[in-house]
Symmetry: C2
Subunit: 596 residues, 2 copies
Amino acid sequence: MPTYTPPTEDQLFILHEVLKVQENEALEGYDELTPDLTGPVLEEAGKLGAEVLAPLNAVGDGGCELENGVVRTPEGFRAAFDLLRDGGWTSLACDPDFGGQGLPGILHAAAGESHSAANMAFMMFSGLTLGAYRAIHTHGTDEQKQTYLSKMATCEWTGTMNLTEPHCGTDLGMLRTKAEPRDDGSYRITGQKIFISSGEHDMADNIVHLVLARITGAPEGVKGISLFICPKFLPKEDGTPGERNGVVCGALEEKMGIHGNPTCVMNYDGATGFLLGEANRGLPAMFVMMNHARLDVAGQGLFQAAAAYQAAAAYAKDRLQGRAVTGPAAPEKSADPLIVHPDVRRMLLDQKSFVEGARAALLIAAEINDVSHRHPDAEKREEADAMLGLLTPVLKGFCTDKGFEMTVEAQQVFGGHGYIREWGMEQFVRDARIAMIYEGANGIQALDLVGRKLALNGGKTLMAFFEEIRGFIKAHEDDEMLARNFLSPLKSASKDLQAAAMYFMAEGVKNPNNALAGSTDFMHLFGHVLLGWAWARMAVAARAGLESGEGNAAFYEAKLRTGRYYMARALPETALRLARIQTGAAPVMDLPAEAF
Amino acid sequence: MPTYTPPTEDQLFILHEVLKVQENEALEGYDELTPDLTGPVLEEAGKLGAEVLAPLNAVGDGGCELENGVVRTPEGFRAAFDLLRDGGWTSLACDPDFGGQGLPGILHAAAGESHSAANMAFMMFSGLTLGAYRAIHTHGTDEQKQTYLSKMATCEWTGTMNLTEPHCGTDLGMLRTKAEPRDDGSYRITGQKIFISSGEHDMADNIVHLVLARITGAPEGVKGISLFICPKFLPKEDGTPGERNGVVCGALEEKMGIHGNPTCVMNYDGATGFLLGEANRGLPAMFVMMNHARLDVAGQGLFQAAAAYQAAAAYAKDRLQGRAVTGPAAPEKSADPLIVHPDVRRMLLDQKSFVEGARAALLIAAEINDVSHRHPDAEKREEADAMLGLLTPVLKGFCTDKGFEMTVEAQQVFGGHGYIREWGMEQFVRDARIAMIYEGANGIQALDLVGRKLALNGGKTLMAFFEEIRGFIKAHEDDEMLARNFLSPLKSASKDLQAAAMYFMAEGVKNPNNALAGSTDFMHLFGHVLLGWAWARMAVAARAGLESGEGNAAFYEAKLRTGRYYMARALPETALRLARIQTGAAPVMDLPAEAF
């Protein structure tokens, strides 16, 4: 079974040398983010991940059990959940008025990596809870906030997101779950929801379901959907769990992975629900939770790749097999370690350069998220919110597609052993696979990106992204090494992205399918530009670190070499994506449906 | 659970209109391959796959069981194996002197698709048997042939391949299994082998293990390895199974997929073995079996993709979700079928264009294989053998990498349902995954291709491949439609392949890592050129079909459109692969091992 080493040094480099969070005075709370705080926090977070959660990952793969409506989580999960709660890890970035510690989200994002990498299925319990927290925080009444939030910040009560029904997932306009108004202002919820992660379990005193349903007489389609709070136990006056509500787990799904988290069929049989936000405005309210979840899921893709990469790198340094073509590297041994072989290094560098680039990109996004909440200037907050909206589908789609691909490459490094359960590599693959599917399948992310986000604010947000990159290149192009290895490939990739956007504008008007046929290619193109930018920023910081003569020179050197690999071997994919995009609708649409 | 429809129409098109096998008079037995024979044979093969084997696929996923040394295969496997045997499917292309029907291998390859696509794990029992058949056929003494072959042709006795040991897989030079000579000419085999597919089971009267071991006093390394026949039951004088041999299954591996086939730890404890071929020449003898297995595995990758694609296409036409952006396609329904969405079509066309292209490529290879065995001219046989040697690693690596990727895309079409066991899509992914690993992990295929096969016959075989493509393009470039849509992209891809080979020649001399760092990219580049060529040949045949005014015009039209998709959207990947190759060793080798 793989052991797990938290990426603390890398995270501190990104926070303090790339983003220089401690110098960002405009953001409330960022001045606290000195290495004195972040170092110990990330160390402690890493300990919990490495020592408690990682050993439970294979255990969790054994699955949950449903008996008489009760779901038993895997052995050891409850105790670990107590440690997560008691360590304050769930409430880190929550509102101090409602049970939180009020620290910047970027710190929570960094701390969360070690937990999710170590045990993805386990971390879904709290991850979804915090999404629900945010939805209630944004749209709840004062009373609702008082009732639920502080208990959810600590995960004393957990949360769920109930959207999907058997006949509709993406197309929520078709949903049938009913909400009948009662005289007391509450609603009677009736219907069936499927694919509900953490829908029922034994780790919390209460489970707060956020449920999409249609109020009697509401319009058809998405404009008649409302969001309800539907707790497993109805809170009593004193805030403690009271009467059992009419919502039960009917079955657990047998699935490919994330067995440590119960995927539930939830049956609502006249359950009591409380309207959250406005009637018929449930979808936008749910999207507060959804957008939060999408960034979480982007992390899941990346973090499984990070954990799998570690294991693969360790195996490649340990396993003796074959000889280096240029002569024995370990002549005293019966064979050289796998890592002498160029093709093994290629696989490892694919992974390493993706993982480190995506880690930086996600923390860049976390900072933008903090700007959208913490900046004193409302205009800056709005711009940041729009930028996050633009980057969210890119991060979700790209990091989970690539993250999965990297778990497959990590598994490949193990040869036949990678296919065997006890080595733990195939679990990474099975677990990471879901991240491409849930919270909006990646095709939906691409559609959101091309169909909605490109035109956000009349295209101004996209322009701002390009402007950011242009400014960055300009500021550093005097450094010849940076210019050659990082800035020039970034410029070229960024041009490909602009050309693709131009193509969509020019040809999408004639036929929207000219844009939609290339949506996934565009998402990947954008993802590469984003990671290329992240790598270029890391290269600048690593250069500065080397020049300072302080810090870990070997770390900076490795950073530059890993970055050069990404720029030289991964980034050129943008040209292929552009070429595909420019073939337009015809290749995709020409074949009649019956010929498939 | 997915149903399965055999690709008979497509196979007949490739056999009779693309390859025109029935007109190939030089090859013994090809004159029999008229549609009168091939049609009914493929129909019947398809029936067995669709009606018997496909329904057992999910059953098989439940796994085999080991108790007291006995392995029980999944319910229904034994009866199905009898049908496979009794239908003559295993012996189709075997030598008539030793239990076979002597039909051309290409017919067996085509018939086998329906079986392997329907149930990959099940078909591993007979697949490995036929590989062992071939090794004994090539290297066995007359007595050995008499004893084993006719029983193995019918799979009355099955076969296995025993190479891997716990500490060595790829690097067989390290193997430790001992073979001590006995006075009667037999050997005492002692050691442990792992990852032995079909190593023990309840479906045959005997199991014939081919085992690599080192004879007492033999040189170290690969030059001291010999191959042995080590049957579970020692054959009696009358040819029936006699005394139980000292080889037992010690454990079954818990693995990611192919649960229907037992992956065994085999313990040899002074088992009696009989030398097959020459002493210390075991590796080349085993390679007869291995090369056969590699083409089989190439098929596994493709066939799982083919089965998964079918299911995905059916789902996309059936599942209602969302509306076409250009206006409702099924206004009478609550939503349009998924297939109206460009991104869903993109996923399906990725799969369809790969599956049909790779199917043609594998049948082209099967024909080359037949030339290598059946052509009257020895020189032609040798050339064909070399060409097959060149194409084998390309087909194994490319078809399994891509095949797996396509099962993942097929699963993606199902959204959340794709992750749930009962829909069967995740099994395709788990099963297909092994094909990238076993019979030489794909990195080893790439190494074989670049390190050995490119220089085969002083590069003449590679030149012959390019010449073949050049001649084909020249012969058809007057057709303006073909030239634009097929020949021009093929020419460009082929140029990329040549440029990559030139780069290896020029730079590999300076540093072999300049070639090895790009080996996997080269394998994929080559795979695309091969499929591009296969598609261009199909386009020529489809064109001719349309012009003839006979046959199924819709089929030919669909063929051309699917091919255009491949040429426009898949083939341009060759430029990316070339760009990566030309970055050489540095990006891959620069990072010191300790920095991983």
